[in-house]
């Protein structure tokens, strides 16, 4: 033992035991059209050794639709985080402007954009699912969706999948 270096000192708040009984699941939908909040949370859960499933429903389909996922928009309408009068946010060009500003901030923080983020999540062992009813309504099949999406499943399937888990509706 004498010729070994000093042992690493763990931070007192670091937990290295990853085994947890419950799986964490995230339900991703709707308002967060650019997909970032759900992706950040899923990625954080996976890094903590917690299972994560993302279930994409109606508006969330833009995030996994091959045609739209490369140019998602950040909607400033009714979004209090912009600190701007709501009446202005609906004007032509505001969405593009807000998206541009958001992208600049994201790049500055070295956060991956959504397509790369989804790859990060699946590489980390996360699961992506698409909602059957939404797919039917939008006339989309698995071929139209990002390759990392494991399947198109019903709401009941997702309820079963997420039983006992922490579910977030985003």
């Amino acid at each position: 033992m004498t010729d070994t270096m000093t042992a690493p000192v763990p931070s007192s708040t670091t937990r290295l035991e990853a085994e947890r009984p419950q799986a964490g699941h995230h339900l991703l939908q709707g308002l967060a059209r650019h997909g970032l909040p759900g992706a950040v949370l899923a990625n954080a859960a996976l890094a903590e050794g917690i299972e994560a499933h993302l279930f994409f429903t109606f508006w969330g389909f833009d995030i996994i639709n091959k045609k739209t996922m490369g140019h998602l928009k950040f909607s400033p309408v009714g979004n209090p985080a912009t600190h701007m009068p709501t009446a202005l946010m609906g004007l032509p060009g505001m969405q593009a402007f807000a998206t541009h500003m958001m992208k600049k901030q994201i790049e500055g923080l070295d956060i991956p954009e959504v397509p790369e983020f989804l790859e990060l999540i699946t590489d980390a062992g996360g699961h992506l699912w698409a909602c059957k009813m939404s797919a039917d309504m939008m006339h989309l099949t698995e071929d139209d969706l990002y390759d990392g999406v494991e399947g198109i499943i019903s709401a009941a399937d997702f309820i079963e999948l997420s039983e006992g888990a922490q579910t977030l509706f985003i």
């Binding site: 010729d3 070994t4 270096m5 000093t6 042992a7 690493p8 000192v9 763990p10 931070s11 708040t13 670091t14 937990r15 290295l16 990853a18 085994e19 950040v40 990625n43 954080a44 890094a47 903590e48 050794g49 070295d110 956060i111 991956p112 990060l120 590489d123 980390a124 062992g125």
Partner: protein, 80 residues
């Protein structure tokens, strides 16, 4: 800079360190010296060139925390 526990040493969290582990650990330590903070998982992938999948295989379940722990560095503070 020393290389921490010598090759063959067992860091007591159930991981036997192989050359592949050491490559990652060396990157973490060098990067820490340059940047002054522990690389996030994404940085280890993007800058160090280690694929995310591989990191989850080498340091199962909690790669970011396990890597920094074994490397003797503070856990990374970034969210991604």
């Amino acid at each position: 800079v020393g290389r921490g526990p010598r090759e063959g040493a067992r860091p007591n969290i159930g991981i036997d360190l192989t050359d592949e582990h050491w490559k990652v650990l060396r990157f973490l330590r060098e990067d820490y010296q340059e940047q002054g903070e522990t690389a996030t998982l994404r940085r280890v992938t993007a800058v160090g060139g280690f694929p995310t999948k591989e990191l989850f295989q080498l340091f199962p379940k909690k790669p970011a925390k396990k890597m920094s722990y074994i490397a003797g560095l503070p856990k990374p503070v970034g969210c991604v």
